[in-house]
């Protein structure tokens, strides 16, 4: 049995909920941004800049980035613990899985900080 030391919250039930709540946030942002770009076919820089200059858009964007991190962590944790196991990789599985999960974690953190820089650096 895989011990739940690397999952998001040490609780499968909470992970289950986090995955779904973050999914709703991601869906809302995706539909909003796609809809906005679709509704404004010949968008110029001023309009694009004005959209991201508003506080609610920056907060919505950062919330989405946090949701992306949580969502991706639960998803990648599920995949790595399903497939990077001693059964598929032999005795190095623990190390490989640790490296893969570390990479995911670092990537999410980098995207989060980078996102803050972009959103509040305008």
């Amino acid at each position: 049995m895989v011990t739940s030391v690397t999952n998001f919250s040490r609780s499968g039930l909470y992970d289950w909920m986090a995955q779904r709540v973050s999914a709703v946030v991601l869906a809302a942002y995706t539909l909003f941004l796609l809809g906005y770009v679709l509704a404004n076919p010949n968008m110029d820089y001023a309009q694009w800049d004005a959209l991201f200059a508003q506080s609610w858009m920056r907060i919505f964007s950062l919330l989405t980035l946090v949701a992306l991190g949580a969502h991706a962590w639960v998803g990648m944790w599920t995949i790595t613990t399903d497939y990077l196991t001693p059964m598929t990789l032999g005795k190095w599985a623990g190390g490989v899985r640790f490296l893969a999960q570390s990479f995911c974690g670092v990537l999410m953190f980098v995207l989060f900080v980078w996102g803050i820089q972009i959103l509040w650096g305008i």
């Binding site: 820089y45 694009w48 800049d49 991201f52 820089q117 972009i118």
Partner: protein
Amino acid sequence: MYGLDKSLTSEQGFAEVKQFMTNPLVKFVVWGLISALLYHLVAGIRHLIMDLGIGGELDAAKLGAKAVLVLSAVLTLIVGVWIW
């Protein structure tokens, strides 16, 4: 993220990103990425509906799975038309 950064930093950056998007290969890759995202989105919504206890019976589940594939294919086509 790089594109967002560049497009928001300056007017020139925005124009560069816009120009980059006119490349056919870039369009194709963007089409692929958006299609994958929309498929994930449609399938995810089905997953949430089934979490609510709707459509879990064998017949309904089969129908739902087909609906996800059809809807995603239609959306993929629409996105393709939109990009080109």
